[in-house]
């Protein structure tokens, strides 16, 4: 059973999955990695993204990827609003640790329940011409429902990496959590920068949500499993390094794929969490540790 065929397909499937994970973790990489805001509700926002994409797909027949992209401004605005509340209620008063955590924990829960109230607990899926088709190269299977998310995720990750390293605002986002005051001394307003960054973080959730529902059917509590994955990826990736995030995502994707293929699907969910626990205990600075 340990054939080349199986091995290479598991590897490719893992890479495709990992690429998609990068899209899910990207927003958290900015929000948690750069801003030190523990948005534990990030996966819940991704699920919200899945459902708005589902809505436009069934009602208007929009392509899921396109819908995800079109919803980014709305999610951006939502992100700015959430950050403003968080800032006013917690960050400014210095209560971010315990109370801030509970705040996002509550938001996660509310999002999940609101979706259940509207759509119920059943699995939902989207339709597009390419879903269900598979590209075959030699012995390698490349199902489009994985390939499209992978390509979109790579494009988005590349775009964000470019934005962060090549624009003034992007660099300011990278700098804001390293030294807030120093950034202010450069003439930037840290609160504005953080609002922007949080907005961008949530905007990526709209696209990630679209990708999630292309890969397979989604139900409201799906986000919980992703909490471990995204935090494992961000922490393993070295808190906010985009390169690290991508690498960690691919690593987790491949590990899960291998465990799924060679050990059993029921163990796959624990992979990310085990990696997370190990990383936290053994090497908290991750692969690409921030200084």
């Amino acid at each position: 059973m340990f054939s080349i065929d199986l091995l290479s397909n598991a590897l490719v499937a893992g890479l495709l999955l990992g690429g998609f994970y990068a899209a899910v973790a990207l927003g958290l990489s900015i929000v948690f990695g750069q801003l030190d805001i523990v948005n534990i509700a990030h996966p819940a926002f991704v699920i919200l993204g899945s459902y708005v994409v589902y809505m436009t797909n069934t009602a208007l027949g929009w392509d899921p990827v396109l819908a995800g992209v079109l919803f980014t401004p709305l999610f951006f605005a939502l992100g700015v609003a959430v950050y403003r509340i968080y800032y006013a209620g917690f960050e400014r008063t210095g209560r971010e640790s315990l109370a801030g955590l509970a705040f996002f924990f509550g938001i996660m829960f509310i999002l999940e329940v609101v979706i259940i109230l509207i759509y119920g607990v059943d699995y939902r899926l989207v339709e597009a011409a390419y879903i269900g088709q598979t590209l075959r190269i030699g012995i390698i299977d490349l199902p489009y429902r994985m390939l499209v998310p992978f390509i979109t995720a790579m494009a988005m990750t590349g775009g964000i990496a470019f934005y962060l390293s090549r624009t003034f605002t992007g660099r300011a986002i990278l700098a804001v959590s390293q030294d807030r005051l120093a950034l202010e001394l450069m003439g930037a307003n840290p609160i504005r920068i953080k609002s922007l960054a949080f907005g961008i973080g949530l905007a990526t959730a709209a696209v990630a949500g679209a990708l999630l529902i292309i890969i397979g059917p989604v139900e409201p509590s799906f986000g919980r499993l992703y909490i471990g994955r995204v935090f494992a990826i961000v922490i393993l990736g070295g808190m906010g390094s985009i390169k690290g995030t991508l690498l960690a995502a691919l690593l987790i994707g491949v590990s899960e794929s291998f465990v799924q293929t060679f050990v059993g699907p029921s163990w796959a969910d624990a992979v990310a969490f085990s990696v997370l626990l190990l990383t936290l205990v053994v090497r908290p600075q991750g692969l690409y540790g921030r200084l």
């Binding site: 300011a172 390293q178 120093a182 202010e184 001394l185 003439g187």
Partner: protein, 243 residues
Amino acid sequence: MANRIVVDNVEAGYGTVQVLHGVSVTVEAGETVVLLGSNGNGKSTLINCIMGIVRPKAGAIYLEADGERFDLVGRTPAQIVDLGITLVPEGRRLFPALTVEENLMLGAFRKEARARIEQNLETCFEAFPPLRERKTQQAGSMSGGEQQMLAIGRALMSEPKVLLIDEPSVGLAPILVSRVIAKIRELKERRDLTVLMAEQNFNQAIKIADRGYIIVHGEIAFEGKSAADLQDNDMVKQYYLGV
């Protein structure tokens, strides 16, 4: 262009601790003025007041540029940077995980500075050749002296008219201290800056000072009209060592 900074009878502190008890300082255009005194006497607090980081409880601080007067009290640091005043902070405060180049680019965040960014980058590398070699290196991995150069370079990227420098010598070996001090003079002359520098290293600071103040316990203990005036003062040791 005439840029003059006036600090008038400022009282300030942190929380309930008052650090400055009525301090007045002026920096005329084109001057290098030094704030002297050992640590914990209020030099940094004064600099922080000018920069808008600490808000004075009483007194006025203003910038006079081309006959116009800008009140600095109540402005945010970002707004003060926009007026052309930039600080090289104590402890350098670089962005350690960003590269040298990214640090420099962040220095040019201010709108007016973005237009001549290439030019300023070039000047910066000319002044500090090691920075060019280490362009892609993480700022936090450099030696103390290089970090101090980067901090000064980053401040210059914003094209300031007035440069505030807080304790450039902290944590540097003596040989580097004199090099950094000499560099500050060189840049000041080349860029036609007005400089206010807080420095505990007395003998190094007066090498480049036009004038200076000794701050003891939040008050101006001595005002030296010239470098010689400071140097020949028998009281200096007393102020420093508390005898």
